[in-house]
Symmetry: D2
Subunit: 348 residues, 4 copies
Amino acid sequence: MKKLVRFNNDYNHGAHPAILKALADTNDTSFGGYGQDEVCEAAKEAIYKYIDCPEADIHFVVGGTQANILMIEAAITKKFESVICADSGHINSHETGSIENMGHKLLTLPHTNGKISAEQIAAEAEVFRSSPLQEHITEPRAVYISFPTEYGTIYSKKELVDISAVCKEYNMYLILDGARLGYGLASPSNDVTLADITRLTDAFYLGGTKCGALFGEAIVITDNQMKRGFRSIMKMNGALLAKGWLLGLQYKTLFEDGLYFEITQKAVDYAKPIEAAFKAKGVEAAFDGNTNQLFYIPSEAQIEELKKGFVFEVMDKVDDEHRMIRICTSWSTTYEEVEALVGAINNL
Amino acid sequence: MKKLVRFNNDYNHGAHPAILKALADTNDTSFGGYGQDEVCEAAKEAIYKYIDCPEADIHFVVGGTQANILMIEAAITKKFESVICADSGHINSHETGSIENMGHKLLTLPHTNGKISAEQIAAEAEVFRSSPLQEHITEPRAVYISFPTEYGTIYSKKELVDISAVCKEYNMYLILDGARLGYGLASPSNDVTLADITRLTDAFYLGGTKCGALFGEAIVITDNQMKRGFRSIMKMNGALLAKGWLLGLQYKTLFEDGLYFEITQKAVDYAKPIEAAFKAKGVEAAFDGNTNQLFYIPSEAQIEELKKGFVFEVMDKVDDEHRMIRICTSWSTTYEEVEALVGAINNL
Amino acid sequence: MKKLVRFNNDYNHGAHPAILKALADTNDTSFGGYGQDEVCEAAKEAIYKYIDCPEADIHFVVGGTQANILMIEAAITKKFESVICADSGHINSHETGSIENMGHKLLTLPHTNGKISAEQIAAEAEVFRSSPLQEHITEPRAVYISFPTEYGTIYSKKELVDISAVCKEYNMYLILDGARLGYGLASPSNDVTLADITRLTDAFYLGGTKCGALFGEAIVITDNQMKRGFRSIMKMNGALLAKGWLLGLQYKTLFEDGLYFEITQKAVDYAKPIEAAFKAKGVEAAFDGNTNQLFYIPSEAQIEELKKGFVFEVMDKVDDEHRMIRICTSWSTTYEEVEALVGAINNL
Amino acid sequence: MKKLVRFNNDYNHGAHPAILKALADTNDTSFGGYGQDEVCEAAKEAIYKYIDCPEADIHFVVGGTQANILMIEAAITKKFESVICADSGHINSHETGSIENMGHKLLTLPHTNGKISAEQIAAEAEVFRSSPLQEHITEPRAVYISFPTEYGTIYSKKELVDISAVCKEYNMYLILDGARLGYGLASPSNDVTLADITRLTDAFYLGGTKCGALFGEAIVITDNQMKRGFRSIMKMNGALLAKGWLLGLQYKTLFEDGLYFEITQKAVDYAKPIEAAFKAKGVEAAFDGNTNQLFYIPSEAQIEELKKGFVFEVMDKVDDEHRMIRICTSWSTTYEEVEALVGAINNL
C-alpha cells in the first residue's frame, strides 16, 4: 500500500536531527532535576538574545495546553476574574474546558479571520467597568490571543500595540499563545519581532513541539506579578518535568544559532507553491494567513482525489458541494513532498 | 421627600404576612437541625400534592444562585462535562462565573426571547457526538433553562416536551431555574403544570424568594443519579441551613393551601393594566412575556419622567433616543401602586 | 409523649423576640437588594461601635460554612497556597471538604483542647520557608482558628497576640471563626474584647445563627487585600442574599443596644449550675471551656438516663463504659430547662 | 574540579541507549497525533503480555504527578468524595497540593515504614459509613498507595490482597503509584507480579521516567467506571502529548523484550554492596526497603565526608549528631560508581 504523505499538522515527525544528536551527546551525563541545571540556563541565555528582556522569567514545559493553563493560572488573582478570548481561540475550542476546569470563565468574542480587535476587547472590558452591578459579573483580568491564530493569520504590530494598550488601560494581562510562533514570525506579512512580542505581552510561549523540537514550549513571563510562584503552579499542575534538561537541551539547540528561525522559514516558504497551485486551479482560500497553515475550500470531489495521496484536515462544510480543508507544511516537510502535493493539485 | 415606589424587582419586600405569623407561632418551639425536622417534612408533603411525583427528592435552600450551583454540581459526573444554556441564562450572565468557578464550561446558545429551542440544543449536542476528536472538546451533560426566562417569557408544553426528548436522546440532564416559577405558571399564555415540569425535567427549583417567602428555594430532583449525596453537596457549598425548619415553615405556609399560586396570580394580573397603559401610549414592548416582568422601550425622556415616582430597571440602549426598561410587579405590589404607575404612564 | 428538652446545640430555636418584632415592623417597607440598603448600613454602624475599626469592611451572610469559605477564598491569592488549622477545626472536620473543594490544601496541626499554638504554627510555616524545594509543597497563606473552639475553649489575649505575630512574620492572614463568638466573649475566663479580635486578625465573623438571630453571620475584614472583590466572591458562591436587609435588620437589633452580649452572657451563666451538678456527681469534664458548651464523660448508663428527658450530643467512646457528651446552653435556654437538667443530673 | 557522582535520585540521566536508538530510527517517519498510532498500539501489546488483563485500558503520559492527578480525577465521581493515603504519600507531601487543587480532600493516615494497613484504611472508611452526619464529612472514594513507597519499602501480596478487599468492601477505588514499580518488582523481598498488581488495583501506573525512559508513565486502568472519558481528562489537564508515539516508542522498547525488568533488577542488585558497606561501618538503616532507595542515618561528619565525592539527598535530623540520607541507585548507575561509593563508605 502506498504510504500517504502527512500534511495534516506540524507535529507528525520527531525532531530536527540536531536535537537527536544533542540528546545522544549528553546521554551519559548526569544533571540536576526539575529544570535546575546548566543546560536550561544555557537555553535561556540563547533565548534572551532574541527577546531583549533580561529580566523576563523563562520556564520550559512539555505542551501547549499545559502552557496555556499555567500562564492563565499565573494571571488570575481571584476566582471571580475571567479571560477574554476569540471564540475560535484554542483555549475555548480545543482544550476540553481546561480553563473553566481551573475555575475561570472565558468571555468569548466573535473572531474575524481568527483575530479579535482592540476595540472588541475594550468594549468587553468596559461592560464590567461601567456596570453598576459588578459583583454579578466576572472581572476580565487577562486577554488571550494566538500568534499565528488558529486560522493561520497574524496580528500586525499596530494591532498588537493597540491590544496591549487596551490591556494596560483596563488592568488586564496580555497572554499570547505562540504554539506556532516561529511560523508567524517567518510570514512575509509579518512586521513584529520576538522582542516586540516580549515587550507588548505579559506572558507568551515560544512553541517548540510544532517547530522542530521533539516536544516542549518555552514560557516567557515579563510581568512581575505573574512571575510569583510559577514553578509551584507548574508542579501543582503536573507540569514540572523531572528531567528538565531535556527541554533545555532542545531550546539550546534551536536558539543558540538561529536554527528555530531557519526551519520555520523553510516551512512557510514551502507553503507558497501549494498556495499557487490552489490559486491556479481556482480553489478558493478560506483565510489568507501567509504562514504554514493553508485553509482552502475545494469541492468534495477534489477532496476525495487529494485523499488518495495525502493526509490533511477536512473541516466544516461550506456549502453542499464544498468543504474547508487545512494543509500544514512544517519544519519536517521535504521539497519532494511539496512537489507531490502541487502535482496532485494541478491534476485535479 | 416623596418615597419612590419600587417596581424594580420582585424581592423588595419581606414576606407574605402568613409567613411572618408562622415564624412567630413557632418561635418558642425547638427543632432538629439541618432540615431534618417535622416542619420540612410537612412542607414536602404539601409540595408533593402538586408535583405528582412521590419519589422525587425535595431540598430547601436559601437562594437561587445557590440552587443553580447545587443542581448543576449534582448533574455533572466528570469535569470534562459541560452545560448548555442560553447566552441570556442567569448562570451565564448574572452569577459571577459561579458554574465555571466549580470547574464546568458553559456552552451558550443565542437566545430568542430568552429561550433556546430543542433544535439548537440538539445541534450543539451533536457537535460532540459526531466529533472525531471528542477528547478535545467538552461533553454536554446538562441543559439549563429558565421558566420564566430572564425576559419574562415562558416555554410552551410542546417546547418543553421537545427539549426533554432531546436531553434524553443525548444523555443530558434537563435543569430548570424556577426562580419565578409561580409567575410563569400564572401566565395567561401558560399551558404547563407543576406536574408537567416535574415530569419533563430532571431537577428544578420552585422559587420562594421572589414569590412571597422571606427567602428560600425548593429544589425538586427526580433523577436518581442526581439525588445521590445532594445534602453533602449542599453542606460542601455552605448551603445546608442550620435552622432548616425556617425554610420548611415558609414552604408549608405557601403550599398547604395554595397561597403560592394565589399571590403570584395576583402579581401577573396586576401587570395587565400597566401593559395596557404602555400600549395605549404607543410605547413598544421588547418582549411579550405575559408574566410579572414587563420589558418596554420608552424614550429617554419618558424614562426620566417615570423615575420621578418609581424605581425600575433601566437597561440597554436600543437606539439614540430609546432604552429598554424592566418593570416587575410582585406578590407585594398593591393595587394603589399599580394605579399610580398607570397614571404616570398615561401622563407621559 | 413527654417532649424532650433540647440541649444538643445552640441553634434549635428561631430568634430572639426583638428580631421577630423588627421583621414584622418592616414587612411593609420596600428595600434595595443585595445588602445595599439603609438597614444594613445601620447594622454596620452598630457593630463599628464595638470593633473600634471604622475602616473595616463588614458583610452579612447566611451561615458559618459560607462565611469560612468566603474568608478563605478572599485570603488565598494563588492556588498553591494552603491554610493552617487545627485537626479539630470545623473547616477540617465538619464542612465536607469545602475548602479543598475550592482548591486549597489544609495543613492540619494536632490540637490541644481544641487550640493550636503560635509555636506550632511557626514550625509549620517554617517548613515551607526553609524548604530547598518550595515548589513541591504548598505555601501557607492563612491560619484558621475558632473562638471559642469546637471544644468550647478560648484563646487568651496573649495567645492571640502571639499567633497574630507569627502570622505577620510569615506573611499569613489570620482568620477567626466566630460562630459562637458571643459565648466566648461572655466566658469568665475571657480577657479579649471584640476590638482586640478585630485588631489581631485579618478577618473574622461574628456569629448570629447560634447567638440569637434567625440566621446570619457578620464578616469583618480589616486587611485591605482581603477586602478586594468580596461581594463578587459572595455572589459567585451563592452567598449574596437578595433580601440582604433581613440580615442587616437582625444585626441592627442585636448590636444597637448590646442585646447580643446580654443574651450570650445569660447562656454562659446558665451553664454554670449544670457544670456544678456534674462536678458534684463526680462526672469528669473532658474540656474546661467556660463557655456555653459543656463536654463531660458520663457512664453509658448515666447517658441513657439523661436521654429520657433531654436531647444532647453523644460523642466518642472514652473507655468501655464511658463516652463523651456535649451539652449546650443557648440564648433560648430557660431557667426552668436548666433546673430540670440539674435535677436530672443530681438524680443520676 | 572533580565531578561529583549523583546518587541523589533515579532520574539524573537521559535514557537507556536502546530508547535513543529507537528515536533515531523512527525520526524520519510520520505518525498520527495524540497517541493514536501504531507504535502506541505495539507498546500496549508488549505491556499486556505482563499484566494478564487484555481488557485493561493503557494510556501514556509524561510524568508521575500528572499520572496521579489523572487517575484520581478518574476515580472521583462527586466533589464531596475524598482520597485516603499515607501522610508520607507523594500526593500529600510532594505534589504542591495538586489533588486539593482539583477539589478533593485527602484523608491522611500515619504511615509505618511508608505503608498504611488494611486495618487503618477500614477504620477510616468506617468513620464515614457509621456517621449519623454523613453530609458533614467527605466520603472516601479512593485509596492511594505507592509501590515501592516513598521510603523504598514494598507491600507484600498479602497486604495488597487485604487492602484490595477493604476497598471493595467500602466501595473505594484502589490506586497505586508505581513511579518506581520496576525497582519494587525487582526487590528480593517482593512476592507480587505485575499481573497481581493489575488484578488487585483499579488503576496504577508503571513508571518510566525513573526506570530507563527519557520520560513517561504508563497508566493501566482496569475498572470500567474509571475508564470513561480518560483521554478527555488527559486533554483537559494538559496531559495529552501531541507526539504520543514518543511515549509508545519508549514503552515498546522497554517491554517487548523485558528490558524494563533487566535494568531495574541491576539497579536493585547494585544497592546491595552499598547496604553491606553501611552495615559493616555500623551506620544505622532508617528503613529496610530492599529496593533501589537506601535510607541511612550517618553522623553529620560522615555526611560531610561523603559529600566530597557524591551527591545524595540529605533529609531530616534524627538527633543532634545524626541525619537521615537517601541514596538511590538507578538503571544508569555503573558498577564503577558503586565501587567508588562503597570505597568511600569503607573509608569513613
